[in-house]
Symmetry: C2
Subunit: 125 residues, 2 copies
Amino acid sequence: MLPEVDTTMTAAARTGRRDRVPPHPDMSEIGLQQVLEALVDPVRRRIVAELYAAGEDLACGTIDLPVSKSTATHHFHVLREAGLIRQHYAGTSRMNALRREEFDARFPGLLRAVVDAHGGDGAAE
Amino acid sequence: MLPEVDTTMTAAARTGRRDRVPPHPDMSEIGLQQVLEALVDPVRRRIVAELYAAGEDLACGTIDLPVSKSTATHHFHVLREAGLIRQHYAGTSRMNALRREEFDARFPGLLRAVVDAHGGDGAAE
DNA sequence: CGCAAGGTTCGACCACTGTCAAACTTCGAT
DNA sequence: ATCGAAGTTTGACAGTGGTCGAACCTTGCG
């Protein structure tokens, strides 16, 4: 289909993807073990807490983390695999959002409890 | 009081301790990090879940774990240090109980959320 | 086109933690 | 006094996971 390649289009547009979107697991595939392993890391918990507080999509860069870019990528990956966040690209930036309702349906009260405790604890914002 | 030494008494009784009691941290000293590190281990979560279900003190031996005794000791130690359980000796056995109310006051909803999720998840009881 | 910005992938490294066996301690009972 | 049961302590070992730098890949823009 569409044999003529329009070079003015971006690669994403050419392939029919407005936003590249990495694979997200279904909530039913997520286990508690995985979730706790994700939340046990302070950096990841900080990400979750900020997304929770923001209540909307945040670009990666918006959240400043005390680690290198490659490590940050790693953390976002873990959070995504644990069903905690949803990611999609917008230009060169990656947007992140909490999968709040979904997650709460699967693990009622857990996210709230952790974020609350995180705030009252050594949040160091 | 009672100055006459009754040799029929146990050493614990003679020294005025009915039960030896290891040091327990105050809830205010407990951090979320510590708690999550404690709960992230499946064996420890299993212990917590069983104590939660039992609702009363359980001897170490009552809870059968898929690990050696020394490892079990380690796990109970971690749980105690994280403020999750209270321990005391009764004879040669160690009794364990959840510090439920206290813990819930410090981290509202957390224990409940984790135990609930644990049950619905790969509890493998 | 060519370049810079923002992320990703890859390898390597290091600290931490769960695990066990062996030796030791303490209590209860014989 | 002695033995067995129940835990503890210690030391060692292996696997895992967070960390980084370097090289690479896209996208947006001049």
